[in-house]
C-alpha cells in the first residue's frame, strides 16, 4: 500500500511540475483568426451550435463567465462558447478559459493554449482578470462534467464557491452561461467517485471522479482519459444577465446556480429529443 501511495505521490508531482503557469502571452489572436471560420463551420454542422445572449456580456473590461459544464473530457460547451465569444467580440478581446490541470498538460492539446486555455487555479484566474480579460470558468469541473446522462439538465457546481471570492477580489461582475446538449455526446453512467477514492486519485491528481460511460469508439469507457468521439448532439448556450457580487458568498453562489438552472430548464424545454435537439 505504501508503494502505491509513493507512486501516486510521484505522479502528482510529475503532473504539477508540468502544469504551466498562466502565460497569457501564449494566446495567439492571429491563430484564432485563422482557425475560426473553418472550426465554426465544423461546429455549426456537427453540433448545430446555437449561442444566444452574447450581448449580455459587458462590452469592455474584465468579466468572470461562470458556466455549467458537460461532456466528460471532451466538453463541446467550452469549445463552442469560445468560438462564439471570439466571433462576437473579435479575436482582439482577450479571453481565457480555465481547464483542469490534466487538460492543460495533455501533450496533444497544446494548441488549446493558443485559444487562451490556461490551467484552472485562483492565481491564474486572478492574473487573467487583472490583465483586463474575460475569463470562463466551470466551477463544477470534473465533478459536474461526469454526472450521469439522466441528470443532464441538472446544474451541480458541487458547492464550489471559490469563483465568488475571485470575482469579489477582482471587482468584476459574474455572468452565468447556461448550456445544454453536452451530456448527450455519450451515455454517462456515473461519476465513479468510489473508483477515484479506491485508486486514491482524489488525493494524487485532484480527480474526484473516474467516470464510467458508453462512448465511441471505446464502448465501455472508464475514466475518459483518452477522450472519446462525441455524438453530434445539438449544443445550445444561453448567456444570462450579469450578477453583482456582494459580501455574502452563499447568496451569490445560490443566485448564480439559480440563474444557470433557470437557463438550462428553459433550453431543455425546447428540446424534443436527446442528441437531435
Amino acid at each position: 500500500m505504501t508503494a502505491v501511495a509513493d507512486i501516486l505521490e510521484w505522479a502528482r508531482q510529475q503532473v504539477n511540475a508540468r502544469v504551466p503557469k498562466a502565460d497569457l502571452d501564449q494566446r495567439d489572436p492571429d491563430y484564432i483568426r485563422d482557425q475560426l471560420p473553418g472550426v465554426w463551420m465544423l461546429a455549426s454542422l456537427y453540433f448545430r451550435a446555437d449561442v444566444r445572449g452574447l450581448d449580455r456580456i459587458p462590452a469592455h473590461g474584465p468579466v468572470l463567465l461562470v458556466g455549467n459544464h458537460s461532456g466528460g473530457n471532451v466538453p463541446p460547451d467550452t469549445f463552442v462558447f469560445t468560438l462564439a465569444f471570439c466571433s462576437y467580440f473579435g479575436v482582439e478581446r482577450p479571453f481565457y478559459q480555465l481547464v483542469h490541470n490534466l487538460v492543460a498538460v495533455y501533450p496533444m492539446l497544446g494548441w488549446l493554449r493558443k485559444f487562451g486555455t490556461v490551467a484552472a487555479s485562483p492565481d491564474n484566474a486572478r492574473l487573467a482578470l487583472e490583465s483586463g480579460a474575460a475569463v470562463l470558468v466551470y466551477p463544477g469541473g470534473d465533478y459536474e462534467v461526469c454526472r450521469p446522462s439522466w441528470q443532464r439538465h441538472v446544474v451541480d457546481l458541487g458547492g464550489r464557491k471559490g469563483f465568488v471570492r475571485l470575482a469579489r477580489e477582482a471587482a468584476v461582475p459574474i455572468v452565468p452561461v447556461a448550456s445544454v446538449g453536452g451530456q448527450e455526446t455519450a451515455l454517462f453512467l456515473g461519476r465513479g467517485q468510489w473508483l477515484a477514492r479506491v485508486l486514491m486519485l482524489d488525493k494524487a491528481l485532484r480527480l474526484k471522479s473516474v467516470p464510467i460511460s458508453l462512448a465511441l469508439p471505446w464502448g465501455v469507457n472508464i475514466s475518459d482519459w483518452l477522450g472519446h468521439i462525441p455524438l453530434p448532439a445539438k449544443i445550445v448556450i444561453e448567456v444570462q444577465e450579469p450578477i453583482e457580487v456582494t459580501d455574502d458568498d452563499q447568496a451569490v453562489y445560490d443566485e448564480v446556480v439559480a440563474s444557470l438552472q433557470a437557463g438550462v430548464d428553459r433550453l431543455a424545454a425546447e428540446r424534443r429529443f436527446p442528441v437531435i435537439g
Binding site: Q35, G38, M41
Partner: protein, 144 residues
C-alpha cells in the same frame, strides 16, 4: 468570394440615398443583423466606424467596419478592419426617369486555408439570400 445582387427601384436616387446614406437605418434594412453599433460620432462619412455582426446560419460573422467611400447618391463602400476580411458596396445608378438600379456587393475571404475556403463556399448561398432580402427591404422602404 464575391456575391452580388441588384434590383431596379421605382424611386429616384436621392430617395434611395436617404435610406442607404444613413447607416442608422441598416438594422431595419439588413436581415440577420445581430449587432449594429456606431463607434464614431457624427454623420456618416469616410472614416466612420461601426461594430457589425451578421449571423450566417448559426455563425456570427463581422467585426469593426470602416466606411471607405461615401459618394452622395452614387456609392457607399466599406471594409472590415477586424474579423473576416470583407468589402461591401451599395452602388446607385439611374435607370430612367424616377428609377434607380441598386447593386449590393459583398466580397469576403475567410482565413484558415482549405477549411476557410469551404466555409466561404457554404456561406455564399446564404449571403446571397441576405443581400436579396436587404434589397427587398429597401424596396419596401423607398417605393410609394
Amino acid at each position: 468570394m464575391r456575391v452580388e445582387r441588384r434590383i431596379t427601384l421605382d424611386a429616384d436616387r436621392d430617395t434611395v440615398w436617404k435610406v442607404l446614406g444613413d447607416p442608422d437605418t441598416y438594422p431595419a434594412l439588413l436581415p440577420h443583423l445581430q449587432r449594429w453599433e456606431p463607434i464614431t460620432e457624427g454623420p456618416p462619412r469616410v472614416g466612420s466606424r461601426y461594430t457589425v455582426l451578421w449571423t450566417i446560419g448559426s455563425i456570427p460573422v463581422g467585426g469593426v467596419v470602416e466606411v471607405v467611400e461615401f459618394d452622395t447618391a452614387r456609392d457607399l463602400a466599406w471594409i472590415n478592419i477586424t474579423g473576416v476580411t470583407q468589402r461591401g458596396r451599395f452602388r446607385l445608378r439611374d435607370a430612367g426617369p424616377g428609377r434607380t438600379i441598386v447593386t449590393f456587393r459583398l466580397a469576403y475571404h475567410s482565413d484558415g486555408g482549405l477549411l476557410g475556403l469551404i466555409a466561404d463556399r457554404i456561406a455564399a448561398h446564404q449571403v446571397g439570400r441576405s443581400l436579396s432580402e436587404s434589397l427587398k427591404n429597401l424596396q419596401r422602404l423607398v417605393e410609394p
